[in-house]
């Protein structure tokens, strides 16, 4: 059982293979055998820092809440220097498909730039945008739209 010898870094890589893109739920089947999420894993990021920041309509300004979350993400990333992440920007569906692809990327970019300013090596972070095509909340009301205007950080 070589897997046992790999430790946290190996587990992070294993989980990264399960977490093949930013908006997919992580398969935590392996992690459930431990107490709490595997260190350096997506689940650990969610538990320790929070994986997402939210934005106002048609905005990419980082709120104080968003900055607090990103500060925690930066600290977490400093703790696990081998981890690479992808930040996915998303939008509510009150914009056109094409404009929202650009707006989602702008949101991902805002989170990216903040993390880099906090000392995370830019080579560890990629960005992507799903526009309005991967909503977190599937309803069409203010509460759902607020959830869908986000930038989600996922362990690669």
């Amino acid at each position: 059982m070589k897997l046992k010898l790999l430790g946290a870094a190996g587990m992070a890589l294993f989980l990264a293979a399960c977490s093949d893109h930013a908006n997919k739920n992580v398969n935590t089947g392996a992690a459930t055998q431990q107490v709490g999420p595997a260190p350096g894993s997506e689940a650990d990021l969610v538990a320790t820092a929070g994986d997402r920041v939210l934005f106002a309509f048609n905005q990419n300004t980082l709120s104080s809440d968003a900055k607090a979350t990103l500060d925690k993400q930066a600290a977490w990333l400093a703790k696990y220097p081998q981890v690479h992440v992808q930040i996915a920007g998303n939008c509510d569906d009150r914009g056109t498909e094409e404009y929202n692809i650009a707006l989602g990327e702008r949101r991902a970019n805002a989170a990216h730039d903040y993390l880099v300013a906090k000392g995370v090596d830019a080579s560890r972070i990629t960005t992507i945008s799903y526009g309005k095509d991967r909503p977190t909340a599937v309803g069409d009301d203010e509460a759902s739209w607020a959830q869908n205007r986000n930038a989600i950080t996922a362990v690669q």
Partner: protein, 455 residues
């Protein structure tokens, strides 16, 4: 309005319209099927009507659809051809097809007149085994003269094409404008839960028939756009989690990457000559507009404001580009030279604007407008004047013009309830006056793009 229907395009042109209909069978039948031969049929017992100016305009036909007697051309495939012609004419809103039995020889124009008909069709279908011969005559009921007489021969499997060509000839001869029935719509077929829909590139005839998938749905795929000059699509795919614009050759099924940009490339539109593509590429927090020459793959950046510049669409003469930009603070429509340079804002209504497309006639720009949480689909002149809203809804976006610029196809979506229930997405069409909106039988779909007339 005068009481006779005169042909609006010369017989030779009408025949050429049909004879130009040569193509090759393509990948998965996505190309236009085999050749179609058109030969003139001499006027039967009546002099040819004179070619002249339009007696019935499209504007008039909108308020008073042209009553046209369309008897069944026979049983089996002949009935199917009749049904397709009837649906094309009836669904465009400009004709009122009237069923009748097929007359022996010259029609009884007196009885047609009493039915209120302006024009009539006669004809028959000869099943030649692997091919079909469709004899078609169009008559002016008032004068009793033959307006058009043509025999079409094509492979039996191409019966729908023959029907659409005949419907286009009727449209062209009675309204004085090129029809658009012999064309296709590419789109995105959607399935699965709203949070993670499966998206497939798909194509169908403009009436929704013969739909088929072109990609397998493995990756998020968006915004197909037809090349106005040939059987090629540009589209966006998230293949390998690298969202970029690709080209899809409908004849061969071959796909290729369109330029290797470092950012996300998206929002493609072909130039009117089909030789280049204009698109956007993300950079920092914005996106720039580029053109890519398809022969050399040479690229040229034409905007660099740092704002979001996207959804570029050429004027039909290729000299200008309308696009969507938030350089002024909110998403609005702008026009600039195709070479770039200064841009002029043209949208000034309430709300945000997006997805502009320039009509092939040059006189209108169609767009989406978003205000108070709901969408409108509208048109305006290229200088921004004369804005008219055609239809509204929770989401109405992604307009695309039919080849003659008279009709738009677009995506209509309904709002979802809290658990996602009630969400529906489909393709509808609407006349550019806002008249005659109808849903196409395309199923769960979005992102329509109308082809040029099939060659």
């Amino acid at each position: 309005m005068t009481s006779s229907v005169k042909p609006l395009i010369p017989d030779d042109d009408a025949d050429r319209l049909a004879a130009a209909f040569l193509g090759r069978r393509g990948f998965m039948g996505a190309g236009v099927a085999g050749g179609l031969m058109a030969t003139p049929l001499f006027a039967a017992g009546a002099a040819h009507a004179q070619a002249g100016d339009a007696e019935i305009t499209v504007d008039q036909a909108r308020t008073a659809p042209i009553p046209i007697v369309l008897p069944s051309l026979g049983g089996g495939v002949a009935q199917q051809i009749t049904d397709v012609i009837s649906a094309d004419l009836g669904n465009c809103g400009l004709f009122r097809p009237i069923s009748a039995s097929m007359p022996q020889g010259t029609p009884d124009f007196g009885s047609y007149k009493s039915m209120g008909a302006r024009a009539a069709v006669t004809g028959k279908v000869v099943d030649q085994g692997s091919s079909l011969r469709v004899e078609f005559r169009l008559w002016d009921v008032m004068t009793g003269k033959q307006i058009q007489g043509t025999a079409y021969t094509a492979a039996a499997q191409d019966w729908r094409r023959i029907a659409h060509v005949i419907a286009d000839v009727i449209y062209g001869r009675l309204l004085g404008e090129q029809g658009y029935f012999n064309s296709r719509i590419a789109y995105i077929a959607r399935s699965g839960p709203r949070a993670h829909q499966t998206t497939r590139l798909a194509i169908m005839d403009q009436d929704g028939a013969d739909s088929r998938y072109l990609t397998n749905g493995q990756w998020l795929t968006l915004t197909p756009r037809f090349n106005p000059a040939n059987s090629e699509l540009a589209f966006m795919s998230y293949a390998n989690y690298r969202p970029r614009v690709y080209l899809f050759n409908l004849n061969t099924g071959q796909q290729r990457l369109l330029g290797d940009f470092s950012g996300i490339s998206f929002a493609p539109h072909f130039s009117p000559d089909g030789r280049s593509v204009v698109l956007s590429v993300t950079r920092g927090g914005g996106s720039d507009i580029y053109t890519v020459d398809l022969a050399t793959m040479a690229r040229r950046q034409i905007t660099s404001t740092g704002a979001i510049d996207t959804s570029p669409s050429y004027s039909p003469d290729g000299s200008q580009i309308v696009f969507n930009s938030d350089r002024g603070g909110s998403p609005q429509l702008y026009i600039m030279s195709a070479a770039g340079g200064d841009a002029k804002r043209i949208s000034y209504g309430h709300g945000n604007y997006g997805s502009p497309v320039w009509s092939p006639r040059g006189d209108l720009i169609a767009f989406s407008r978003i205000a108070n949480g709901s969408f409108s689909l509208g048109v305006m002149a290229p200088d921004g004047t004369g804005e008219r809203i055609l239809t509204q809804g929770f989401t109405v976006e992604s307009p695309t013009f039919c080849p003659n610029g008279r009709v738009l196809a677009f995506c209509r979506q309904s709002a979802a309830g809290h658990n996602g229930a009630g969400f529906a997405t489909g393709i509808s069409t609407i006349d550019i006056t806002g008249f005659h909106e109808r849903a196409l039988p395309a199923g769960s779909a979005s992102d329509p793009t109308w082809s040029p007339l099939n060659k």
